[in-house]
Symmetry: C2
Subunit: 280 residues, 2 copies
Amino acid sequence: MERLSQAKMFGGFVETYKHRSKATGTDMTLGLYLPPAASTGQRVPILWWLSGLACTEQNFLTKAGAQRFAAERGIALVVPDTSPRGLDLPGEHDSYDFGSGAGFYIDAMKKPWSEHYRMATYVSEELPSLLRSTKLPLDTRRMSLSGHSMGGHGALVLGLRNPTQYRSISAFAPICHPMETPWGQKAFTGYLGEDRECWSQYDACELMRSREVKTPLLVDQGSADEFLPTQLRPEHLEEAAQDSGTPLTLRYQEGYDHSYYFIATFIGDHFAFHSEHLLS
Amino acid sequence: MERLSQAKMFGGFVETYKHRSKATGTDMTLGLYLPPAASTGQRVPILWWLSGLACTEQNFLTKAGAQRFAAERGIALVVPDTSPRGLDLPGEHDSYDFGSGAGFYIDAMKKPWSEHYRMATYVSEELPSLLRSTKLPLDTRRMSLSGHSMGGHGALVLGLRNPTQYRSISAFAPICHPMETPWGQKAFTGYLGEDRECWSQYDACELMRSREVKTPLLVDQGSADEFLPTQLRPEHLEEAAQDSGTPLTLRYQEGYDHSYYFIATFIGDHFAFHSEHLLS
């Protein structure tokens, strides 16, 4: 891992790294925040953040105000990019909701995507292993997961698929039922093909119904979110959680939209939630 | 004033406006944060934020994390753009440190800039008057001023030039002595011409030495700021404050750079400082 940048913030450090990924076959960038506690020699737990459509690792680090809480609580932030970069696959850069910036945290099955768009493996297997192999003072036995929109979907899906790896899961305005909504259908068709059984392995509602997961989940959803009527379906997630006995807290936040202003407002609550599980 | 956008944040609202400016002869955009207290019918005091080179009103609103403190303390944020826009004067868009995005909060004297680049009048006269004429619940009798880099220079200069208008002044990594440093010399030559007497009317060190101002000032400067060795000269400001008896607190922050990560770390301190003067 090659460090590209470092800036002091709240007594810790915001850093970006470049590394070669086996999963994607490309160079990948990675954002990191190390809290002041990481400078004392102890290994700190990790909150992973998965970003939404068109984001890089930069959006969350610059806009969410999360470092204040990460510093206070002694939790590191790890922020992957949202897709492989530097490729030029046919149509890869044509739309904001498919291809570059829109990896959807799944392992593609369909060519030409299947060679590189393997973000599920990248985020939940390769990166934890890579972080363990570095000298960074991170405790990969204590990890939780959060994200926004497409990244909220990613947090739910990777958390539900790897229930022993993450202690708690949260999401802001996640795509809860991608099989039934346009962004998800476009991505699943493009990356996975037509097999809906295969789709269901990356759909939070379907995963919740198919396996018993006791990881605590917190979801915040703004009531004025412009994508709520068409893309997100939190009510389906709530039903699936009730039917399956999954411990989900779903909160509707009156008047909030889909932006980082919404995330910044409630990110402190998510730190409080994850801290219960990461710091115990 | 036409509202272009509104998003809920920390119980209040981040808004942007467009309006016609007499001072600049152009349309101007303006950022605003109204804290929850503004919804209760009371008029809230204002912290003005003046941004640095190449910024618009968006940078501070998205990156600094200031709204959390503005909400807690019941203070509005008003964030002007950094120059007129939509013109196409010769050379206006050629460099990041002159012309568009680089108005330097001065009233230009030299053609063709003097017709439009009148940011001192715009910020310290036209905008307060415009805000008074709206129905926005703002108390323009209680105003303080802060800013970053070029905007830190703007805060110091406009605060020192209008000592009865602002109750307190703060700055992050301001250009303290622009007459003696490259960014300032380029801007002053371009906007004002060769008359150094005219320059001194927009130089914080010179203003401090030439008039007795008792407005309290707080300046934070990162020790790892990449522009500290060449552009900023906080030590000259400290000397001028000592010689003139101006109440300046200058703090060097070990290891911090020139970025919004630095601002976000200490913006809470600046709210504590301004609150003493705005809320009493």
